[in-house]
């Protein structure tokens, strides 16, 4: 118990220092401070417009009406916003640090390398993106025909937290491949293609082999779908169990890949 408390205190202090250092860096390049907000904000607003156009021609997409789709876009935007704010800019640098041998500096410090890599490049300029996503979700909820209860809202928050973990694990897992191979550019391309597709297309549209791919192999299809289903009351116990199972499975795979990968790592001289 004492050891856990010590670890938490130490990590909290490291996190605080990383935050100060990051702010110092951002103050040097002030022009780029709000760049993620403007770029990703425009992306999701354009998506809202595009689906607004689709819904002006059709009543529903599958069983989902306009409200559900706005919720879906808002939820994906929120997952992306938290990702951009907290860990995206740290995690994407993992392949470069492995290739250049910079990972040595992380391994030699008395703090978990992954912890430092995750939190050393937080992006406060993305925080408005979180607020924008919450506004989109609130707008989607107001467009819903069914009633929104506190229990459903709590369930949605739980699933968003769980899916954020899955998002993080997918990013780390894909980049851990760098510990085994010389280049993993294709995997990043695959990740980009999967996210690009699933942020436009809700999971209810997948069937057959597409469902296997986007619900299990590259589970980007469930990331925003499950929180929305829990909010609109479409989630069955089987779906919930499946979602928790997928997150657990990817947690185990990511953990194993990272730990085994570090054993493979032979620094830049290899």
């Amino acid at each position: 118990m004492k050891q856990i408390k010590h670890n938490i205190t130490k990590n909290w202090r490291v996190l605080r220092e990383l935050f100060y250092l990051r702010f110092h860096g951002l103050a040097v390049f002030r022009l780029d401070f709000f760049a993620p907000f403007f770029v990703d904000g425009s992306l999701f607003l354009i998506q809202l417009l595009a689906f607004g156009v689709v819904y002006s021609n059709v009543e529903t997409i599958g069983s989902w009406g306009r409200g559900e789709m706005i919720l879906y876009i808002g939820t994906f935007s929120l997952l992306n916003a938290v990702n951009m704010t907290i860990y995206f800019f740290g995690v994407i640098r993992i392949p470069h640090k492995i290739r250049s041998g910079e990972l040595d500096l992380y391994l030699s410090k008395p703090v978990s390398p992954l912890f430092r890599l995750t939190f050393e490049n937080i992006s406060p300029g993305s925080i408005p993106l979180i607020l924008m996503s919450v506004c989109i979700i609130a707008y989607g909820a107001s467009e819903l025909e069914s009633e929104l209860t506190f229990a459903r809202l709590a369930a949605c928050l739980f699933w968003i937290a769980l899916m954020e973990i899955l998002y993080y694990e997918m990013e780390v897992m894909i980049r851990s491949i760098s510990l085994y191979t010389v280049s993993m550019a294709r995997m990043e391309q695959l990740e980009e293609a999967g996210i690009d597709l699933c942020m436009k297309l809700p999971g209810i549209a997948f069937y057959g082999v597409y469902k296997v791919i986007f619900y299990l192999l590259l589970p980007y299809g469930i990331m925003a779908t499950l929180p929305v289903q829990s909010m609109i009351g479409e989630m069955t116990p089987q779906t919930a169990a499946y979602g928790i199972g997928v997150v657990s499975l990817f947690s185990a795979i990511t953990c194993a890949m990272w730990k085994c990968g570090l054993k493979h790592y032979n620094s830049a001289s290899s």
Binding site: D32, A35, F38, V39, S42, V58, Q189, A205
Partner: protein, 280 residues
Amino acid sequence: MRAQPAQKIWRVSMRKAKKYWEITKTYMKTQLVWRADVIFNMIFTITRILFAYLLWGIIFQGKEMVGAFTFHGMLSYYIVSSFLSQLEMSGGISSEIHDRIRNGTFSKYMVIPAGIELYFMAMELGVVLFYLAFDLIAAVVWIFIFRIQFVFAAEWSVVVCAVVMAVLGMVFMVQLNYYLGLLTLKYQGIGTFLMIKNNLVSLIAGSIVPLALFPETVIRIMRLLPFYYVTYLPSMLLTGMCRDEALRGIAVIGCWCVIIQLVIWITQKKYFRTYDGVGI
């Protein structure tokens, strides 16, 4: 014997064309180095088709028509639009100019014995010619895999108009990206703006949803913009729709090419002298 003025102009033009053709050939050969990229770019064109197939598949359940589209007409539109979008690779020009001005190596383009803008056009031509066959193969493969009853324009005159419009659209995009790159001379950092521009262009060029589904007022405004004619209208023409807009479309995109060229000349004249070659 002194050569006639017309013959002289012809010879000079041919010599220039030969010079830029060499640049085009060099870039075609350069693509061979990135063979894996070519293959993966071909494979990843599937995401757009898959998006259209799944989204419109679920929408068309129990419906014959959405807007003016049948299911197979809609997928044919996405196939052609995806093919044209894939060929339009001029986005790299603005990033290249932006990065080189910022790190002070833009001088590379100033010292070569070729016009900078024409150099980028020749470069783009080389890349497009190389990818043309591969993207065509990818499009045909997706048609067979997704069992699309491909809808294609019946009249050859419309096909010719669509091809001319698509070429002019690509020229316009090269000009636009060249111009945006030059703006680094004034604004120093335009990376964020370029990313927002890419997001916006994907919507107003009809890559996400066909512009025909937008309200009539919006379509009327879009017709005044050049992006309507870059991938959307050529795709519609090639899938047998909007035939009456063909000639007007060529005239409008042609005018936009002239307008942006004038803007480029003015910008070059004003800002090239401010470039000091030491970076920002």
